[in-house]
Chain length 416, copies 2
């Protein structure tokens, strides 16, 4: 924490006297956000979910020796010498289809017609692909040699019974779900998705679609936060809109049922900024005021098991505070990587990026000819700065910014 | 196309005599997959969707001059000379709250208490932040000077009325949805999501959770494909499982209602591989057999307006063929970037990656100490090769592979 904190005094209309360091606030987030417990879910809705326990295979895959090609099962040694100039003929004694094997032992000197995935008959040890074989009546002529074992998938070669498929913490890929299916695993234990409540305050706000008075503004933070929460793997527990009324905010903040409450607006030092003192009274206001721009009025704390983030109402501040702190907590609760889901790219600075020593800056940049340039109009209230920008640069507290020609890491808003 | 194609002859149990080049197949995909028409959707479900038309703002944001800080509205020139050693006092004549402005003209020599986002009163032109002000009774003492315009957000500075917010083709970010909300736009025209049918064939297949006979295998491709289709922004029109029966497959393939039909299994030259000849009979089999490994038995074509992809039943081939061709078509239909949604990273080759000239290889690799090594066991049927791998390398047709120490682009399966 910074040398002086704001968590034990009422800062309304007095201003912050000291601000927490971003790194200290991040440390608090990491201490408070431990992976949630697991729940049982069906394998076919498990894509993207994080395993809370390891998964082992109950069976061998394949569970029998199978053909890797369409063609003819043979004894490999019997094909020696076969070529285009010396085709060898084998009587076809039957066929093996997927799910319908050739049930006898294949006699020496014969072949069995076989399809990809079908069981290789007892006696056979190789498959000659259809490309090198011509059927004439009851006989197949082959024009190539195969060594024993060729084009045969051995029992258990993909997965052997009792081996571990995935360790706890694995975020399941599409093919992971397929592997679970292929061993017949129908349920897995996955980290429960965090339940997030959005608590939107502000008497001046109007829900889009409703009539707006001259000095009212359309409420936009809930749409941004809902999308971010969804992106980070959480589910929306509820969306509550309340007046700037102490009792109403307190009730909405304290109501059980959410792992995380995101309060938009009323987080700062204004006369109507009730949220910080409510949080301090009902639970713990651990951080209030952070040495960063935008989002300096951000607060965070907890009420019993629920993490509460006080996000500034200014839309850029709200987005930035979510991404720095609340999103990180949500991803960690859900067992995901704490890191930003933004692709990172090293680029040259095209125009000076200015910051002040002592605070972290979140600077929206545009890429012009592959060089990063800060947006001219980029106040905390200018939401279009985040739609016109290609991404952002984080300037650490100890830096004054980046000079043109130097390299800087840009986090890209779009992942493709 | 390659010198000889397989689209006009029955290749069952004869093998492919020529294979299309990957680039030619990709060209066919691009020719056939044009962006779908738009549909009207609500702004609050628009995150991740692609706009089919541009969106302009019906209003200015802000729609009035507003305060960017909590503090006191003043005339900037009247604050000249204020400092810690020379605090200046201003009588407070009222307050402006968000949604509740100070309705009169502010007299010279006075101040109005103001909150972030509240309208700046007529007469005032700057805001002094609460940090530099102390209220005593009816007066506020300020200890800093502000120039006119400071901490005031001008009407229209974020968005001006009638300006374009987004062009057609924009994939909406969380903050884009917020910008739509902030200008009161409740509906947008977005590219319709492609409707994808999964058609799973194979008599040997058992749905996980059901009883499996000794030579049956659990069906896994539908789970992988459903996850991939969802990832690529499409919706599952239906999941149909049919016997290896010509009539049943034909009916399922031809039934209207899907933009894309993905057929899993029965795409090759085996005796029970009906799908290619059905597609040729009912529509067009444009490509069948591709010079690549795995997935060489892939086919594609169309029946009226529906694109049909014949994906090999082997799970790795199915995944690979989806990613090369079907996923590309689906992303293009949905207006997304055709490119793979896999992050790409340049890494050094740790162990030789072997390929054959004349075919494209999809080689699963593991990163060991940051160096790419091909997986030892990586046949088309070994699904675990795609779960053990960190990503894959594509070796072009003209290359024999990559020697240790050279650099290669790895596509990472995980995006974080």
């Amino acid at each position: 924490m910074a040398e002086e904190t704001n968590t034990n005094r009422d800062v309304r209309m007095r201003g912050f006297t000291g601000r927490a360091l971003v790194d200290d606030a991040l440390r608090w987030v990491d201490e408070q956000s431990k992976t949630l417990p697991g729940e049982t879910i069906a394998f076919n809705v498990a894509h993207g979910r994080v395993l809370s326990g390891g998964v082992s295979s109950p069976l061998d895959v394949p569970s029998f020796d199978r053909s890797a090609m369409d063609g003819y099962a043979v004894r490999g040694t019997e094909t020696e010498g076969a070529s285009d100039y010396n085709p060898l003929g084998f009587p076809i004694v039957g066929e093996s289809m997927p799910g319908h094997p050739f049930s006898e032992t294949m006699p020496p000197g014969t072949a069995v017609r076989i399809m990809t995935g079908a069981p290789v008959p007892t006696g056979a040890d190789a498959v000659i692909p259809a490309e090198y074989a011509t059927e004439t009546g009851e006989t197949v002529e082959i024009t190539s040699t195969v060594s024993p074992g060729k084009h045969v998938g051995r029992r258990g070669e993909d997965v052997s019974a009792n081996s571990q498929l995935f360790a706890a913490g694995r975020r399941l890929r599409p093919q992971d779900v397929g592997l679970l299916a292929s061993v017949g695993v129908t349920d897995v234990e996955a980290v429960r998705r965090p339940r997030v409540r959005l608590l939107i305050t502000g008497n001046e706000l109007v829900v889009p679609g409703n009539k707006r008075g001259e000095f009212q503004i359309y409420e936009s933070n809930s749409s941004v936060l809902a999308a971010l929460v969804h992106r980070d793997g959480a589910e929306l527990e509820s969306l509550m809109r309340v007046e700037d009324d102490r009792e109403a905010i307190s009730q909405a903040m304290c109501k059980p049922g959410a792992d995380v409450v995101l309060v938009s607006g009323g987080s700062s030092v204004g006369k109507e900024d009730h949220a910080p003192s409510i949080l301090a009274a009902e639970g713990e206001l651990a951080v209030h005021g952070i040495a960063m721009r935008p989002s300096s009025p951000t607060g965070m704390g907890g009420i019993r098991q629920t993490l509460v983030f006080l996000l500034p109402g200014n839309p850029v501040s709200c987005l930035c505070a979510y991404d720095f702190f609340a999103g990180r907590a949500i991803r960690r609760l859900g067992g995901r990587s704490a890191e930003w889901p933004y692709p990172q790219r090293e680029v040259e600075v095209g125009r000076k990026i200015v910051s002040a020593v002592g605070r972290v800056d979140y600077c929206r940049v545009k890429l012009n000819d592959g060089r990063a340039e800060p947006l001219a109009l980029s106040g905390a209230s200018i939401l279009s700065s985040t739609t016109r920008a290609d991404g952002f640069v984080v300037i650490p507290a100890e830096s004054e910014g980046h000079a043109p020609g130097t390299n800087v890491a840009v986090f890209l808003y779009d992942s493709e």
